[in-house]
Symmetry: C2
Subunit: 248 residues, 2 copies
Amino acid sequence: MENQDVDRTLTLLWRRTLGTPQGSRGPKQRVSVDEVIRAGIEVADEEGLTAFSMRKVADRLGLKLMSIYTYVPGRSELVGLMVDEVAGEQQLPELGGSLRERITAVARQQWDECHRHPWLLQVEESRPWIGPNISDRYEWQLSAIEGAGFTDLEMDQVVTLVVGFAAQSARASIAASRAVESSGISDAQWWEVNAPVLERVMPGDRYPLSGRVGTAAGLEYNAVGDPDRSFRFGLDRIIDGLEELLDR
Amino acid sequence: MENQDVDRTLTLLWRRTLGTPQGSRGPKQRVSVDEVIRAGIEVADEEGLTAFSMRKVADRLGLKLMSIYTYVPGRSELVGLMVDEVAGEQQLPELGGSLRERITAVARQQWDECHRHPWLLQVEESRPWIGPNISDRYEWQLSAIEGAGFTDLEMDQVVTLVVGFAAQSARASIAASRAVESSGISDAQWWEVNAPVLERVMPGDRYPLSGRVGTAAGLEYNAVGDPDRSFRFGLDRIIDGLEELLDR
DNA sequence: CCTAACTCCGTACGCCTCACGGAATAAGAC
DNA sequence: GTCTTATTCCGTGAGGCGTACGGAGTTAGG
């Protein structure tokens, strides 16, 4: 039962190399798997993964709900296909220059992709689907640090570290923009609502460091934080740390 | 309307210092806000945040669904209260020793909390609720690096970096354990299903680095990865990088 | 030409949040 | 002591969701 779905999804993921095995008997399909995946990506781009639904995908394609299930086994499998699809939509940059530049390129690629499709960060699958574009990208990520002097084991850990950091930073960045644009409340307005209660409730001497650091951050950039700057700061520290590991 | 909910939730968050302002007129409440929050945490601990529902919280308390809404404004506000509650359930460790040890303590605290309540990583609020326990912890996190030589601006960035990294690592760790225990499929079984398709589809020479690194990892720990080890590896690199920043 | 496979889809079940309004309850007002 | 009014608890229903099941129409192979 479930095993069958796994096989089916894998052959869908690798449909470019395997070919599309459509039974020739009945009526022709009105759309294609690619169109279903594309429509899914559009819905998710516009409304996020929680508002993403099979019904909306069907509507966008001019089909009725249950027809979608003749293309993909179910919702979570469709999301898996969407993830691999967007991993392949931008060509992987040429890698060159110093180790620092190459690692930065890997992190930046992940950061950009998350910003292009914020719903990627909402996907939680216990086990990732291994598709062609994901595989290509992992190979590319490894090639960025190949020959730098890491052991094979370290290479995987380095990629995990860099890519995970980029994703985490993107998460903060996206949350920050969504806070402003989706709720329609600016940082200033938000503080106006919270401040009265918080001032009454936080004793003046209980949070000295938070107060000091908070006002410093507030002065520098008129917001609670600057995600892009935090990203560059953290990435530079991580690369410094990696270079030191190689020096030993 | 919405502004009212914000005020109400803030007074609920700070109920220990503000007191519980319960109108004295009608019938007494059968349970308390604390019990509602506790019940919510239990449900989320057992089933995760996607399966978490107001109905289950009500059932657990012997109330009917709609009664919960007399205690908290809605689902997302209840989750906000739960987040602050679990942030306060373990005492913050004393900070001492070297900078490395203090930063490690901060990261480890976050890592532990995420493992105790994996649903924390599923919470996505554009704007965080500022409750007492969250505030205390931020102050504690800052105190771990106070006096080390960072600027005020850097202090916030360092905490963001370390805490974010711990959360990201915990995410990987939890996903790994959930992969095994929830689906009931071991890593080996999973490969048995995937391998036949993947071998047929991945040309032998296309993924040389992935193959080399993958088998190295597979030999070292009989799994696709070792989250705890990746956590320690990454944290050490980050701290190395931070120390180098201070040396300059 | 018949049959078997295939696509599309209507219906239904069991979930979910939350708005609304009604009944029961208990404290304050008089 | 009675009345009013705030408050709690809850039933109902609207509007979402994923997907199991089965039926109708369509097409190619035998």
